[in-house]
């Protein structure tokens, strides 16, 4: 079992005794190699769940085991370690560093785990090759199309060979043709054995995944597998 989540709660204190319960007791198990889509209406807690799975945040209550390691109560530095080694993020707005080249953006996670420069370059080049961007490695984000930017972000997510790739509405800022291109890339990565979790509103995007989890009001409403 790669991810083992039990009774996960996330409550935001808004002051004056007002509380927002973004997640209200989520149970979720995910196997290695799964390709899963999280769906649900706006405000249902999809991003909140993603952030918890991605160790950007800690739950108010409940347990989260990643790769057999209890991560719901880790310190800041330990969470940074998990984010670096186990998780690859892909964001809706790409979140590339504007001043840096595609190559340098892909190198970033490797810088933070002290990979030597020569090895870093090699790995980053390989990751860019995996998303068909070898010829764009010295371009800055503003010299790339939206789809190319998202591919750089995916290369960055891949570069450390993480256990999971997390993508929060990765096609949200792209037109449908480019979105489809990106989804084909995820498809390919999934076939290569990567574990992928993606958040989306759109059914045809979710259709790429083998399994879809529907959230409503912070709870799992439906968990269905596509017939193979």
């Amino acid at each position: 079992m790669l991810i083992h989540i039990r009774n996960l709660w996330k409550t935001y204190d808004m002051g004056q005794a007002v509380q927002v319960q973004a997640l209200r007791g989520v149970d979720l198990d995910i196997e290695r190699g799964e390709y899963l889509a999280i769906m649900g209406p706006s405000g249902s807690g999809k991003s909140t769940l993603m952030n918890l799975v991605g160790c950007l945040d800690t739950p108010t209550e409940g347990t989260y085991e990643l790769n057999g390691r209890m991560v719901s109560q880790l310190s800041d530095d330990e969470l940074a370690y998990i984010r670096n080694k186990e998780i690859g993020f892909v964001f809706q707005t790409f979140n590339l560093l504007a001043r840096a080249t595609a190559l340098h953006n892909v190198e970033l996670p490797l810088i933070y785990n002290g990979t030597p420069a020569s090895e870093r370059k090699k790995k980053a080049q390989q990751a860019l090759a995996a998303v068909d961007l070898t010829d764009r490695s010295h371009h800055k984000p503003n010299e790339l199309s939206g789809g190319q930017r998202q591919r750089v972000a995916i290369a960055r997510a891949l570069v450390n060979s993480p256990s999971i790739i997390l993508a929060d509405e990765p096609t949200g800022n792209l037109d449908s043709a480019t979105g489809a291109e990106i989804m084909q890339l995820f498809d390919r990565l999934s076939k290569q054995g990567h574990t992928i979790i993606l958040v989306t509103h759109e059914h045809d995007i979710a259709a790429y995944a083998e399994r879809s989890v529907h959230l409503r009001d912070g709870k799992i409403e439906k968990d269905e597998r596509r017939a193979a």
Partner: protein, 418 residues
């Protein structure tokens, strides 16, 4: 669980690249630190150059010489009014000291006033004319300077027989005798003819006082022609050389006793004359320059404080602007420490760059001042080290708060920041 290690030079690289991206802003940020460090270097150089110059000059007076005069060292208006009421030192005082001071090797007289000096059609108005006993030249090492120049010093014989001879400052010689040998020529000083017997080597100016523009004549001649009651400062100045350094104090005590007795100073009263040595003058000068230094330390501190606050302000702006960047870095596994270092190194680099520019500017400024004015400069290595340390300190002190702020950012909020 394993631990992430980010080599420090990677943090340095990240910091430098973000400084390069904001070149103009980075440079403007530095002005305060540059001004602060430039002032440190320039002022330290000038003050220490000045101190050295004064020390050199006073060294010609020697450690065994002291000066006795009516005024002494005047530090306040009260001192001045007191001194004005005093009796002048007289020739009789001189004779009493010369006869009564066993620890004194030489007792010389110097008296000065300004006169017109003329040769042919050329003239200088208001040249300091000093009447001296011949031993005065030995006491203040003027004999050496004449030896290195032309001609000879004034002799005892000339003083005893009131010969109208003069030692003429090189500046006057240059104007009067550009081509001719000055020795043996007659010049008119205050309407009286004098024969030039010696010309000292050029010395330049000291504290704005042109040391090459003067004429020295025998004291006896000065008394005869120039000592009229129209001169406000009638008194004599005595330049006294003790036998050796150990007998300095004794010599001063003897002179003091002789003068107090002759001038009937009551037992409990202060001396009604001034007595000082090169050392006293040096101490006084050091006190003045230390005072100036403290004022400067104040100015420098203020400009460094302002410079530091500017750096802090710019770093806070930079942290806010790059909130999203911090979020991204954290999402990719940057620890707090890495983010803290990134911004701290940025601040320190800024400050040290300012410090280095300040050092270069300061050295340059000190050199330019020493080339264009009589004020000398001595670059002190410790002031350069101090400049670097102080600017590093400013960078760390004012950089740590913005850097800590960046490091504490919550990754999710940072990522969501617009």
């Amino acid at each position: 669980m394993g631990k992430l290690k980010t080599p420090i030079w990677e943090s340095v690289k990240i910091s430098l690249s973000s400084l390069r991206a904001n070149k103009l802003r980075s440079i403007l940020t530095l002005i305060g630190v540059i001004i602060g460090v430039t002032s440190i270097i320039t002022m330290v150089s000038l003050i220490s150059g000045f101190n050295k110059l004064v020390a050199d000059q006073l060294a010609t007076l020697g450690s065994t010489t002291f000066i006795v005069e009516k005024f002494g060292i005047i530090l306040s208006d009260d001192d001045w009014f007191d001194a004005m009421k005093r009796k002048d030192l007289t020739l009789a005082d001189y004779q009493a000291i010369a006869a009564g001071c066993s620890e004194c090797e030489e007792v010389a007289i110097q008296k000065a006033s300004n006169r017109k000096v003329k040769y042919g059609r050329e003239h200088f108005s208001r040249v300091p004319i000093v009447g001296i006993t011949p031993n005065y030249m030995k006491v203040v090492a003027l004999d050496d300077i004449v030896d290195k120049g032309q001609g000879r010093v004034i002799t005892e014989f000339e003083n005893d027989h009131r010969r109208q001879v003069a030692i003429l400052g090189p500046e006057l010689v240059d104007k009067f005798f550009p081509m001719l040998d000055p020795i043996g020529k007659k010049v008119r000083i205050g309407g009286i003819d004098f024969t030039v017997v010696g010309v000292p080597k050029k010395r330049g100016s000291f504290l704005g006082d042109n040391q090459d523009r003067f004429a020295a004549i025998p004291f006896s001649v000065y008394q005869k022609y120039f000592s009229n009651k129209l001169e406000p400062w009638e008194g004599l100045q005595f330049y006294i050389k003790a036998k050796d350094y150990p007998s300095m104090e004794k010599a001063q005590d003897q002179v003091r006793a002789i003068l107090r007795a002759r001038r009937h100073v009551p037992y409990h009263d202060k001396d009604d004359f001034g007595m000082y040595t090169a050392e006293t003058l040096m101490d006084l000068f050091k006190k003045v320059t230390t005072g100036i230094s403290f004022t400067l330390v104040g100015i420098v501190s203020i400009s460094l404080l302002v410079g530091g606050i500017v750096i802090m302000n710019i770093m806070l702006v930079s942290v806010t602007e790059r909130t999203r960047e911090v979020g991204v870095r954290k999402a990719l596994g940057a620890r707090r420490r890495s983010i803290l270092l990134q911004f701290l190194i940025e601040a320190v680099t800024l400050a040290v760059a300012g410090g280095t520019a300040g050092i270069l500017l300061g050295v340059l400024l000190a050199k330019v001042i020493s080339w264009t004015t009589p004020i000398p400069a001595a670059i002190e290595p410790w002031s350069i080290i101090a400049g670097l340390l102080v600017s590093t300190g400013v960078g760390v002190f004012f950089g740590v708060f913005p850097a800590a702020k960046a490091a504490r950012l919550d990754p999710i909020e940072a990522l969501r920041y617009e």
